[in-house]
């Protein structure tokens, strides 16, 4: 039901709104660039209009400049004074956005072209809000607006005390969808949903405060997220109890005494037996493949085919395939099944070490080969286990029964299997749900333990962890490791700023290609190694990889701290002012956090304090 009408030219749109007395208006457009373009286009067309508020606007802005000098030479200045039309989006300087907001509130503007970001936060209403798109551009492409977003937008329509009615107007546009807008307008408000999660900062602070995991867990289980799991847990508990009740009743009615746990015992044993049966290899080939799955790993040398002459050093494993380096240095990929022999030692996979590895196998290959299992051995192990399980199943029956009674007892137990299975399943799910909120904290704890910030066994935060708890930055472990390894000690202010900017910047935002000096590059490379180490540990715990560090952001921050003036920084980075301010003020905030670690990292704290002071100068504040 999309309506692919071309967008109305901004001047035409404003003229139409004006003719219905619907100004002032906020017009939402999908991109920052469209906002700027639309504002300039509309401003141009209104050159001839005689607006008495022109003087008032000029005066207002002049007053404002006295407090916020950085907007004095803004490129939109003249257009706004002349036309009373402005653009407002996250690409602008905060001070500039503020003056637009204030002028709008003072009734000095007729229209603002804005992206949806203006919908959140700061309050500046208009008589009319215009929606030209039913979609919003997000990190994952175009997405439909949500009911809450539309509500935030319409919340700006109708000024209290100035309007008797507010208007939301859908206008034609290439992504317009009147049907969806209508639906979203009448949709009930979205529910508030928890986004609670484990963070290093919260774990360290809570553990340091309480001194044991049980209390930290109790806090985590106070979360709204946990509370929302409770109805599901209760439902599962009901299922479990009902099935238990059914089993108990059936057993009570039987003419012989069977323990209440027998049905569930049978279920566990039976499912263990079927797992074993599935696992037992039936052919030599199967047995061999299973063995290869276990032993082929990166760093080991394998021989392809039976002859054992073509050697490959394994560098990576997929489910059924292998990638490695051949002796001539070329890469080879092949299925696991082609491997004939596997050698015991695990070598480094670094390119300069491979020759040594192959030499060793050539020298002592005969002693180093791993013995592959024989089929009979492999099967015997499973068969023994299965027999054991069968015996256990037998032992569940009461001993003093006749053959006939035994058969009927066994029949009864088997007939109760569906209930027993339901109980097992419910209990597993309950356990999983219970762990859902806490488990991520455990993962964080294991990682922090590995890097020495807390000690899992004694449930204590280490000295190192105590200062990390005080470091309230976005990726504390990375910054902590950089500090811990003395990376900051050797830095001056611009380089310290560069390092932090590389970390706090959005991964995919580009701040131009300013040159980085060698010293910064080498620090960043060291930092990348740390980042790699940290994310490897995180990845092992199933924590998704942290974003890459942003070199162009580092360059921008280094230049700013190195003394560049704002206009040249903007020009040379080709970044939008608002984005630069956000990057630099986030960098400044993180540096201030490091500056707080005077007790433990005096030198780094001093550098960070100095860098923060330089970075947080006008217009970054």
């Amino acid at each position: 039901m999309k309506l692919r009408m071309p967008e109305m030219p901004p001047a035409t749109l404003l003229a139409a709104l004006g003719s219905y007395d619907l100004l002032p208006a906020i017009i939402f457009l999908p991109t920052r660039r469209r906002c700027d373009e639309a504002a300039s286009e509309a401003a141009l067309s209104r050159r001839a209009i005689n607006d008495q508020r022109r003087e008032a606007r000029l005066e207002f802005m002049r007053d404002f400049v006295e407090q916020q000098p950085e907007i004095r030479n803004h490129r939109h200045w003249d257009a706004i004074v002349r036309s009373g039309i402005a653009a407002h989006h996250a690409g602008h300087l905060p001070a500039w956005k503020l003056v637009i907001e204030k002028m709008m509130s003072a009734g000095l503007l007729d229209a603002i072209f804005a992206t949806a970001t203006v919908a959140a936060g700061v309050d500046f209403p208009a008589r009319t809000v215009v929606i030209t798109v039913a979609d919003r551009r997000s990190a994952n492409g175009w997405q439909s607006l949500t009911a809450s977003e539309v509500q935030q937008m319409t919340g700006r329509a109708g000024r209290r005390g100035k309007d008797r009615v507010g208007f939301i107007i859908a206008a034609p546009g290439p992504h317009q969808n009147p049907q969806r807008v209508a639906e979203l307008l009448s949709a009930p408000p979205d529910n508030l949903e928890s986004q609670f999660r484990a963070t290093y900062t919260s774990l360290l602070n809570l553990l340091d405060a309480f001194g044991n995991f049980a209390q930290v867990r109790a806090i985590a289980e106070k979360s709204y997220a946990y509370r929302n799991l409770l109805p599901r847990i209760h439902e599962l508990e009901r299922t479990r109890d009902e099935n238990e009740q059914r089993i108990r009743q059936a057993l009570e009615l039987a003419p012989f005494r069977l323990a209440a746990g027998a049905a569930r015992g049978l279920e566990r044993l039976a499912s263990a037996r079927s797992r074993l049966l599935e696992l037992a290899p039936h052919t030599r080939r199967e047995a061999l493949l299973r063995w290869l799955h276990q032993v082929v790993q990166p760093g080991r040398i394998v021989a392809i085919g039976r002859s054992g002459k073509r050697l490959v050093l394994v560098t990576a494993r997929s489910r059924d395939g292998v990638t490695g380096v051949r002796e001539d240095g070329r890469t080879a990929s092949f299925p696991l099944a082609r491997i004939g022999r596997v050698f015991a030692p695990v070598f480094s996979t670094k390119p300069d070490k491979t020759e040594e590895a192959f030499d060793e196998i050539h020298d002592r290959g005969n002693q180093l080969g791993l013995l592959e299992p024989r089929l009979r051995d492999a099967r015997n192990e499973e068969a023994d286990s299965i027999k054991l399980v069968n015996d256990l199943i037998d032992s569940l029956m009461p001993s003093a029964l006749t053959g006939e009674e035994r058969a009927s007892a066994s029949g009864l137990l088997w007939s109760l299997q569906p209930e027993a299975v339901a109980i097992e399943r419910a209990e597993r799910q309950i356990e999983r749900l219970r762990a859902e909120v806490w488990e991520p904290f455990e993962r964080c704890a294991r990682i922090l333990d590995r890097f020495g910030y807390l000690d899992i066994t004694s449930e204590r935060v280490t000295d190192r962890g105590r200062w990390l708890a005080d470091l309230r930055v976005d990726r504390p472990l990375l910054v902590g490791e950089a500090l811990q390894r003395g990376l900051f000690a050797e830095l001056d202010a611009p380089r310290a700023a560069a390092l932090i900017a590389a970390l706090v910047a959005d991964e995919d935002r580009d701040y131009g290609e300013l040159e980085l000096d060698d010293a910064i590059v080498s620090v960043l490379i060291k930092f990348e190694e740390i980042a790699f180490e940290v994310s490897t540990e995180e990845w092992k715990e199933g924590i998704s990889a942290a974003p890459e560090i942003n070199f162009s952001a580092a360059a921008a921050a280094a230049h700013w701290v190195g003394g560049s003036d704002w206009p040249s920084l903007v020009r040379e980075t080709r970044a939008e002012e608002g984005d630069l301010v956000r990057l630099l003020s986030r960098t400044g905030e993180a540096l201030l956090q490091i500056a707080g670690l005077k007790q433990t990292h005096a030198e780094a704290a001093r550098t960070a304090a100095k860098a923060a002071e330089i970075i947080l100068r006008e217009p970054v504040r």
Binding site: P6, D21, D163, A171, P178, A182, L192, Q195, A209
Partner: protein, 298 residues
């Protein structure tokens, strides 16, 4: 081709010359500086369309100036705050801040102190300014990631992260956060993917002796949310919602490509059939356009 030329538009134009005086009714409310460039298409308000348009735009303009009188929901929230936590849900601009301001005034007068958290630095700065004007610079401090002024003032404005950090510090140092009231503005940020967890941590860790006032946009599950807060803190949390939702009524319209303004919905609350026709027409055009442009190769 930008806009569909609509025969009816010309029609209306002619009719308007006959009874233009009525149709121009709403144009007289123009302020002198409203734009009237050449390409503005005047509404042609006669016949069916005219009636519809007058209905749509009826009452537009400024209300008579009236002395400020608090809404009943604002007073209700203030009363409730005397003995319990309060979650206020109401749309932007309906006077949630007034409630916080009055409660803060009461506390400051009694020599007590308060924390006011917001999710955004810009919002924090503007609240700081607002409260300085209201309570005097000596009584207000600000704490954000890069700004720290008057941190021992009885009223602190700051980001939720800083408030949460103070709660962490207090917990570790065994001290108390100095506040008798914590206001959490834009409390629906709890659902923010990146930062929402900070709000939850703050709510869980705020000692029960500190009264909580949460100001939120309209949400679907306010009662459930309040029930959680009460469970966590052991203090009852009342929900105050602005009845009738919006302080200023809202009307929805669609601006047709020919610049006529039509209601978005019909009387039954369904999409206006005129807009429906437009979308169908658009679909057909596209279908035909495809047929011509793209010859099937097989």
């Amino acid at each position: 081709m930008l806009f569909v030329k609509n025969g009816r538009r010309n029609d209306h134009g002619r009719k308007r010359s006959r009874d233009g005086s009525r149709g121009a009714g709403n144009r007289q409310t123009h302020t002198r500086d409203s734009p009237r460039p050449q390409d503005a298409v005047s509404p042609a308000p006669s016949g069916n369309y005219g009636r519809q348009l007058r209905e749509l735009l009826g009452g537009i303009g400024a209300p008579k100036p009236a002395a400020f009188k608090p809404d009943p929901f604002q007073l209700e929230a203030l009363t409730a705050l005397e003995f319990e936590d309060v979650l206020v849900t109401a749309p932007t601009g309906s006077g949630k801040t007034w409630i916080a301001r009055e409660e803060i005034r009461r506390l400051l007068d009694a020599g007590k102190s308060a924390w006011y958290t917001t999710p955004l630095k810009a919002l924090t700065n503007s609240k700081y300014q607002e409260f300085i004007e209201e309570f005097g610079a000596g009584n207000v401090g600000i704490l954000t990631g890069d700004r720290k002024e008057n941190p021992n003032a009885p009223l602190i404005v700051g980001t939720t992260e800083i408030f949460r950090n103070q709660l962490f510090d207090a917990l570790r140092g065994g001290e108390d956060v100095r506040a008798d009231l914590a206001v959490m503005d834009e409390a629906h940020y709890l659902a923010d993917e990146e930062r929402g967890h900070v709000w939850e941590e703050a709510i869980i860790l705020t000692p029960p002796r500190i009264r909580l006032l949460l100001l939120s946009a309209t949400i679907g599950n306010a009662e459930e949310f309040a029930a959680w807060i009460a469970e966590v803190r052991g203090v009852h949390c009342g929900v105050v919602t602005r009845p009738g939702a919006r302080p200023v009524p809202l009307r929805a319209a669609f601006l047709m490509p020919d610049k006529r303004l039509v209601p978005l919905l019909n009387d039954k609350g369904k999409l206006n059939s005129e807009i429906m026709k437009l979308t169908e027409q658009d679909q057909q055009d596209r279908y035909r356009g495809q047929g011509r442009g793209r010859r099937r190769r097989w």
